[in-house]
């Protein structure tokens, strides 16, 4: 250690200090050291174009990592490929290698690259163009997205060898205007889809259909391109890629990139209120750890789960180091920042000028920011896959790196922090898509018909084409003549179909107290209970009353108030099982998977006095009933089990279990917590027994509850172990819920009931 500055000479020495620091180590629940890994390499493939070889050499690449070599070979052999690689393992070469080689061999060839975000596209274009310039060949790479000026669009359509875009642009601009892209579609040899793990759920189901349309257009122009996909580490990369592109793919996953020693530290903030199970704020603990690292001069990335937290942590950290580092050395990074600013931050991180960055998961995807030394995760990122991705941002090839994961009091975080083996030993989540979801499918069949008339005998998805065609003829959008179905409607179907529906469905909250300003957002499903008229909406500790809810326009107008009550709305949820597809029995417990309809209608709201919790009034809520037809999975307890508990006890037990399950279900799914819902019923209409239902929150379902049906036993075991290992006495927000909700014996009741629900005792 330097006696004058108090700084240690390197991360190694600092780690030694940390291990002796009881203040920190008392909260460390697990410290895992992952051994360094040597590079495994292969020579540059034979037959590689000399210009390409030279360009690679000048970049210091004289041999390949094994996965790059294998991806190249598989692509050259004509296979569709999915390459699975962790962060910073030279992933882009897996596709750039065969694509460039092919373009050098045949300059008439074309390639299309798809990235989920614009930022990633721009990175790619810069890299590709730099390589082409290095080779001094006329290979042109262009981005084609909403920001592309109209003046250069024509040039890109005709002369771009590699066109880099995103699925949304492909869906709404390129495919419907394919006749302007004749050159591309006639000569397309490769379609590169990077970050395929990002295409999951509803979005992924849409993208899979966009790919179906893309392939259809390619066939029309007589081309049959090869797909090269890249994915982060997920449980099912091959299956997922195959579903996404509808082709058999070759899996390449023998990562040969080297890695330095990696320390993974689980950190659980200390309990400050044992009765209520409240822990110290994870934000404050994150500030402490990140502050220590930054003060040591360790280049650090901090990930937080929301934009607000990013800003909060940024402010804290900038304060901490105000006297030591210049004020531009710690930066924030999130979606709302302008592209120019983001580029500047990325550059600063690569050059080392920026010593610390606080980011949302925006930096989780493959944007090039170089490799940092330390990573602090504020809260479990939600999935194992994301956690590895984010942690991968720290770790240089020759040096040690460290990742702290600071748990919040959320049950999922608590589960992870207390079960390190679950995290380290389990494969990451599965990416699920359901391209044949009827609503999604029909949307894209319309777009496809607009692009090219359907012919009898064609196939688009699993549904019978004739049925879909007939339906759309009845809907008066298609016209059949001469054995074909033609689009015969004035509208442009792609305009009304968004690939990322969920984001658009939010309600905006507008504060009219002084002028009008946007206060925040509420997702569509929560809107009826949170922002119905007369509701008290609390935002950053301030009370607002909803004056008007414009339901069709998705806007709520609120005004600041000061009252001594809050409101609580009753939502009447009715579940109707339409049809059971699968059924399994384990012991006394029956579980089923099938289709159901959910009718949700907010009925009344109560005004509840603060502190005393007296009911001081109520009012009706006039909002339309929402009906959702989806897929679900449910399990019921035996009548014996029901008989052993009073109705009240059963109510608390079921509620407790539901609270736990809704939080740990994402362990098995790559999904947003809002994508799945859990509903407990003491006496369900369908089963007449105490039942817990799960359902997908998207019409038609997207495969989430089906997956949960499959892993039921494991799910139950995890729930049990979470409740058992929680340090609270009788229920807390980190397990079954607070005692106000589940009663004094809620924890015990839930555990007793769970013991009957399968899994290991």
């Amino acid at each position: 250690m330097n006696r004058f500055t108090g700084k240690t000479s390197g991360l190694e020495e600092w780690l030694q200090q940390v291990r002796q620091n009881a203040d920190i180590m008392d909260n460390v629940t697990h410290w895992r050291t992952l051994a360094p890994r040597e590079a495994r390499t292969a020579p540059l493939p034979e037959g590689l174009h000399h210009a390409w070889k030279e360009a690679l050499r000048s970049r210091g690449i004289s041999e390949l990592y094994t996965h790059q070599a294998e991806a190249y070979r598989a692509a050259r052999d004509g296979h569709h490929v999915v390459a699975v690689t962790p962060t910073a393992s030279g992933k882009t070469l897996c596709y750039n290698l065969p694509v460039m080689q092919s373009l050098l061999e045949n300059e008439e060839g074309r390639a299309l690259y798809l990235f989920p975000t614009k930022a990633l596209s721009q990175d790619q274009v810069a890299e590709l163009q730099a390589l082409a310039d290095l080779m001094d060949v006329g290979i042109k790479t262009h981005t084609y997205d909403g920001d592309t000026p109209p003046t250069v669009r024509t040039a890109i359509r005709n002369a771009g060898h590699i066109v880099v875009t995103n699925p949304d642009m492909l869906h709404s601009a390129i495919l419907p205007h394919h006749t302007k892209w004749v050159k591309l579609f006639e000569n397309i040899k490769f379609i590169v889809i990077d970050e395929v793990h990002a295409y999951r759920g509803v979005f992924g189901s849409h993208v899979a259909n966009v790919v179906r349309r893309l392939k259809r257009i390619c066939r029309f122009y007589g081309s049959n391109p090869q797909f090269i996909c890249a994915s982060a580490t997920i449980d099912n990369p091959q299956e997922h890629a195959e579903r996404l592109i509808g082709e058999k793919v070759r899996l390449v996953d023998n990562n040969g990139a080297p890695m330095g020693e990696k320390h993974f530290v689980f950190y659980n903030p200390p309990v400050v209120n044992k009765q209520l199970g409240i822990r110290r704020s994870s934000v404050l603990e994150t500030r402490k750890l990140a502050g220590l690292l930054l003060n040591q001069g360790v280049q650090t990335i901090v990930f937080a789960r929301s934009r607000v937290r990013v800003e909060l942590l940024l402010t804290y950290l900038q304060e901490l180091i105000r006297d030591k580092l210049n004020d531009k050395s710690i930066r924030g990074y999130r979606g709302g920042y302008l592209p120019k600013l983001r580029r500047e931050i990325e550059r600063g991180l690569r050059s080392g000028e920026i010593r610390g960055v606080v980011s949302t998961n925006a930096l989780e995807l493959g944007i090039d920011i170089g490799q940092l030394q330390a990573c602090v995760l504020n809260g479990y990122p939600g999935t194992i896959a994301s956690t590895w991705q984010q942690s991968g941002r720290a770790g240089r090839r020759q040096e040690s790196s460290i990742t702290f994961m600071v748990a919040s009091s959320n049950p999922l975080d608590q589960y992870m922090i207390q079960n390190p083996d679950f995290f380290f030993n389990r494969p990451p989540e599965r990416a699920l898509i359901h391209p044949d979801n009827l609503l999604v499918l029909i949307d894209h069949v319309k777009c496809a018909a607009y692009e090219l008339p359907f012919e009898a005998g064609e196939q688009f998805g699993e549904e019978k084409l004739e049925d879909m065609m007939e339906f759309l003829v009845e809907e008066k959008v298609l016209h059949k003549s001469g054995g074909r179905w033609y689009w015969m409607e004035q509208s442009f179907p792609a305009h009304n179909i968004s690939l990322r529906t969920a984001a658009q469905e939010n309600f905006v909250i507008i504060d009219n107290t002084n002028g009008s300003r946007v206060l925040g957002e509420v997702d569509r499903f929560s809107a009826p209970t949170l922002i119905h008229e007369e509701a008290i909406y609390i935002h950053e500790g301030v009370q607002y009353q909803v004056e008007k809810l414009d339901y069709p326009e998705k806007k709520a107008y609120v005004r600041e108030v000061s009252v001594d009550y809050y409101t609580d709305a009753n939502l009447a949820v009715e579940l109707k099982v339409l049809h059971v597809d699968k059924e399994r029995e384990s012991g006394e417990l029956v579980r089923q998977f099938g289709e159901l309809t959910v009718n949700a209608k907010p009925t009344i709201f109560k005004k509840i006095k603060l502190r005393t919790h007296e009911n001081i009034g109520s009012g009706p809520i006039h909002l339309p009933e929402e009906e959702l037809h989806t897929s679900g999975y449910w399990f019921s307890f035996s009548e014996d089990a029901a008989a052993r508990k009073s109705k009240n006890e059963m109510q608390f037990a079921l509620l407790g279990i539901a609270n736990v399950l809704v939080h740990i279900a994402p362990l098995y799914l790559m999904c947003d917590p809002f994508d799945i819902r859990v509903v407990p019923q003491v006496k369900a209409v369908h089963t007449k027994k105490p039942t817990i239902y799960f359902y997908d929150r998207y019409p038609g379902g997207i495969g989430l509850s089906e997956r949960l049906f499959e892993v039921h036993d494991e799910l139950i075991n995890q729930a049990k172990s979470l409740i058992r290992s929680c340090t609270c006495l009788s229920g807390c927000p980190a397990c079954v819920g607070p005692i106000e909700e589940v009663g004094l014996l809620g924890k015990q009741q839930a555990l007793e009931l769970l013991n009957e629900a399968g899994g290991a005792r």
Binding site: P176, A449, H479, G482, F492
Partner: protein, 439 residues
């Protein structure tokens, strides 16, 4: 099939059950389909077409690729449509040469007029031209041919017919055809496998000159409005073009040709008006203003016409128009400023200064963007050209007042603020240069 509909209804949260009304509607649809089916069967049997078509001159046309309907109308060359007789085109066509710098003259016979009626908007792959209208002139007559497809499968035959006609012409004349009609035709050739570059015409899109000349003097540059205001054409019982798709879909559904007559007539008038526009702009480029077309009444239109002629390389024709506008007593400030900007660029400072001064004088006290612009220009002129800083300061001061007055009425956006800031800077600089103390 009904299974799929039920599932869709459930997913959309709609009532699945059929009501009596639905059943009745369905019965009617089925009935209509049956009739339609019989009609189709009959048509296919011996290419029978409804006698209704004959009422408005529509005949069946068959070629190697298939069949479609064709209506041909011939107008005698001296037919008058509004102000112009069609055969003026022979006289005016040489002027059209200016659109494409070419050595030899443009002959009226080389021009093909084109106008489509389509099923939708935009130039996406799913927008189908169900009617293609073309027009061409000979010494004796002006011919309009309108092809209509009875269903989408006839499109290929219609396009094949068009593809055969096109190479006989050198010029393509349209209204908004550069961004709509022609790219759409090209789309359809590609979609129907008829090749990509069948014909590469010299394209003249009259929307562009129409916008240049009438942007501010006409409420809209839609063809129907332009022809009424400037070509003396009155349409009677016109079916608006925007209704055409619905009428066509109706025809697809019930097979009744009658309502399509209106669409044919609408397209026919469009073709005639298109020819008249060619005559109009041809005359203009030939310097035949006054003789064949009236002088623009409004100074604004005079200036815009002059600017357009200048852009088309007819500088000699534009100067008289400019002079007339400059002398006009009714020219508004914005017109004067527009012409002054042209003069400034052309180096005609004397007239530019005069125009700016007039613009300031003719503006109602202290208000108007044009007046402010004129004051700024005058300030610049006095500062940089004459080095008369005090006069420049006077003009800059006027401009500043005008800008302030304006921003009281207009919302103060970033642009307005920048304008005020730059004026403040200018005044400060001029004070320095004039040897005054800055405030």
């Amino acid at each position: 099939m009904s299974g799929l509909r039920d599932r869709m209804n459930r997913l959309r949260g709609e009532q699945a059950g059929k009501t009596a009304e639905d059943a009745a509607a369905e019965w009617l649809t089925n009935e209509a389909e049956n009739v339609q089916g019989e009609l189709e069967a009959a048509e296919q049997a011996e290419e029978w077409i409804s006698p209704v078509w004959d009422r408005f001159g529509v005949k069946l046309h068959t070629n190697e690729t298939g069949s479609f309907l064709l209506r041909r109308i011939e107008y005698p060359a001296d037919y008058r449509h509004g102000q112009h007789a069609i055969n003026e085109l022979h006289l005016a066509s040489s002027g059209l040469n200016a659109f494409h710098a070419r050595n030899h003259d443009t002959f009226a016979e080389q021009v093909l007029f084109l106008d489509l009626e389509t099923t939708g908007l935009g130039v996406g792959a799913g927008n189908v031209p169900f009617m293609i209208g073309i027009g061409y002139i000979t010494q004796e007559r002006f011919t309009i041919e309108q092809a209509l497809i009875r269903h989408p499968a006839e499109e290929r035959a219609m396009l094949a017919y068009l593809a055969e006609k096109l190479p006989q012409y050198t010029y393509l004349a349209t209204y908004n055809g550069r961004t709509f009609d022609w790219p759409l035709v090209q789309n359809r050739f590609i979609m129907n496998g008829l090749g990509r570059k069948l014909w590469e015409p010299l394209h003249i899109d009259f929307l562009h000159p129409a916008r240049s000349v009438w942007r501010n003097t006409l409420v809209s540059c839609r063809l129907s409005h332009v022809e009424e205001e400037r070509l003396g054409i009155q349409r009677e019982d016109d079916v608006p073009g925007s209704l055409a798709p619905q009428l066509y879909f109706q025809f697809l559904a019930d097979g009744n040709p009658a309502p399509l007559e209106g669409v044919f007539r609408h397209n026919e008038t469009d073709m005639l008006s298109l020819a008249c526009l060619a005559i109009r702009f041809g005359h203009l480029l030939n310097g035949n203003l006054v003789d064949y077309i009236p002088l623009p009444e409004e100074p604004e239109e005079m200036v815009r016409t002059g600017l357009w002629l200048e852009k088309m390389g007819k500088t000699n024709l534009s100067e008289p128009l400019f002079e007339m506008a400059a002398r006009s007593e009714t020219a508004g400030p914005s017109t004067l400023v527009m012409l002054a900007a042209r003069d400034k660029k052309a180096g005609n400072w004397a007239r530019a200064v005069l125009l700016w001064q007039k613009a300031v004088i003719r503006t109602s006290p202290n208000f108007g963007a044009a007046a402010m612009e004129a004051s700024v220009e005058l300030a610049m002129y006095y500062e940089h050209k004459l080095k008369d800083f005090e006069s420049a300061l006077g003009h800059a001061g006027t401009a500043f007042e005008q800008a302030l007055n304006q921003s009281m009425l207009v919302r103060r956006d970033a642009k307005k603020r920048a304008e005020l800031d730059s004026l403040r800077n200018r005044i400060a600089r001029l004070r320095r240069k004039a040897g005054m103390q800055t405030l």
